[in-house]
Amino acid sequence: MSLRRAPGFWLLLAVTLAIGLLPIVTGNPMVRETLYTIYLAIALAGSLNIILGYTGYISFGHVVFFGLGGYVGLYLISSFNTSIWLAILAGGVAAGLLAFLLGSAILRLRGAYFALATIGINEAMRAFVNNFPPFGGPTGISLHFSVYQPYGGATQALWLDYGILVALTLASILLSYLVKSSKFGLGLMAIREDEDAAEVMGIHTTQSKTWAYLLSAIIPGMLGVLYYFKNSSIEPSDAFNLASSIELLVMVMLGGSGTVLGPVIGAAGYEILRGYLLLSRLFRDIQLTVSGLLLLLVVLFIPQGAVGWLTRRYPRLRQVII
């Protein structure tokens, strides 16, 4: 399943790019904003899938990388006036470092214990940042409006921000595919299926898991910088919000964990649905309940997610859908 002969993958990449460029071509900021939340979700869900879908480790508090990246990026921009590019890089590195340091410790835990440990880390990070003066403590960091000047004012800056996001989303899909079709990916999936058997087969489980966790953290770290640069301010309760982390799990589950296409469909479908429920007059007040109900139906009747259901229902599709 090398890169050249994977039609499903190139198709997915092409479609994501095409839709992503739509607002840039039409220049319509409203479409851009709607697509912004969707592409952010796709990139985050795609990254989470590497540790959740491929390796079978339920990272509950995955938002901690998004929040930390955001904080590091904004700290650099607000204090040292660095360029957005350097800040994004720093955000990614910080998240990667955290994943690496934590990984070797908590990856020894399995199943529910690992999930709880990630919750613990997210809450500990939120409480820590709340008391950490350089990150602005409870008031967080807010950027002066002039920070957009070097990029040609706010409007240009937001378009640039969006452009980078589309690029990062494509990168996350590429990374997801490369990992899945590589030997490293095969090792991860073996760990997911039966970690002890994988070890006996010769897979260095701790190292592979730590690498998977690291890979699943870098892009969220970068996305954090993008998102909070656009918002021009960041607060602890906002950056380490457990609810949005659980939403990521829902997206991967909805789409089909352990596949490349799954998180993309899951994230897009979930965000469109939530967006619609929020704006529609009919569901507006009970949109939380309706989303909950739909999630329950999916968990009960289509646990393997949309992609899983499709490949089970039509096995021939398995070659095309990745």
Binding site: F60, L109, Y113, N130, L249, I286, L288, L296, V299, L300
Partner: protein
């Protein structure tokens, strides 16, 4: 000294809240993400019974508990039973969807403005320690319920069934224990404990639809502290957390306390997953 007593009292109630979670987790290896909203609904249940029917809150507690038991069994049948043996992810998301549904309905019904049960039973002063009667009562009731639960698990046949299932569900089924019914019952029991804890909390704290989440996080910490699936462990874990929250502020600024709490939580998970008081794998 005052710090210690405050910590112990609130610790009992935290323990009770966590007991529901540890029971469900121990028996069916499911982390109940709807635990927080159940605690909140417990508070609202007692609040409504007390204000609209003028019922004594502690009596309302029992009714709320009974309703909680039935509701819990219902939720188990609808949402949990089907995904019980599938992946952790499915059970986690199943309980999370229940949380979303209940939270959506509760926000719709009660909106998010805070309510408080104005029960003023005054306070007693023993030596240098002044203690609120409502808190004392809440702590006593928590300990009573904990004892009741332990007796129930040890002495009664359904209690033994539940413990058998906790150890090894397959084996329990082999010897003819109606596991599905017992699982539904234990999920109901877990809900009952959560609802009662919520009711007790309502007697001395104001609460809103959203206050459940904070208690859910605390319950996670306590369950791990006390040892998975061990009700008495949960109570002791609750006491430890309560004392910690009481003592720590004396040594550092209060906003550092959550940092210590969660770091401790991760450390215990790493090095002593069976918790301080052990039991279960």
């Amino acid at each position: 000294m005052q710090y210690l007593v405050d910590g112990l009292l609130i610790g009992c109630v935290y323990g009770l809240a966590a007991m529901g979670m540890t029971l469900i987790w121990g028996v069916m290896d499911v982390i109940n993400l709807a635990h927080g909203i159940m605690i909140t609904l417990g508070s609202f249940g007692v609040y409504l019974l007390a204000t609209s029917l003028g019922m004594n809150p502690y009596l309302a507690l029992i009714i709320a508990g009974a309703v909680g038991l039935l509701a819990g069994m219902g939720i188990y049948k609808i949402a949990i039973q089907k995904v019980l043996d599938t992946s952790h992810l499915s059970t986690l998301l199943a309980t999370f969807s229940v949380n979303m549904i209940l939270l959506g309905l509760a926000t719709q019904a009660f909106s998010t403005n805070p309510r408080s049960l104005d029960i003023d039973l005054g306070s007693i002063t023993i030596g240098s320690v002044t203690v609120q009667v409502t808190r004392l009562l809440a702590a006593l009731v928590s300990v009573l319920i904990a004892a009741g639960l332990t007796l129930f698990l040890k002495r009664t046949t359904p209690g033994k069934y539940i413990r058998a299932i906790t150890d090894n569900r397959a084996a329990a089924e082999l010897v003819g224990i109606p596991s599905q019914r017992m699982l539904a019952f234990s999920f109901g029991l877990g809900t009952l404990l959560a609802v009662m804890a919520g009711g007790l909390i309502a007697t001395f704290f104001p609460f809103t639809v959203l206050s459940g989440d904070a208690y859910q996080l605390k319950s996670f910490v306590i369950v791990v502290l006390g040892g998975l699936g061990n009700p008495i462990g949960a109570l002791l874990g609750g006491l430890v957390l309560g004392v910690l929250e009481g003592i720590l502020p004396a040594f550092m600024s209060t906003s550092w306390v959550p940092v210590i709490e969660f770091v401790l939580f991760v450390v215990i998970l790493l090095f002593k997953p069976t918790g301080l008081f052990g039991v279960k794998k």
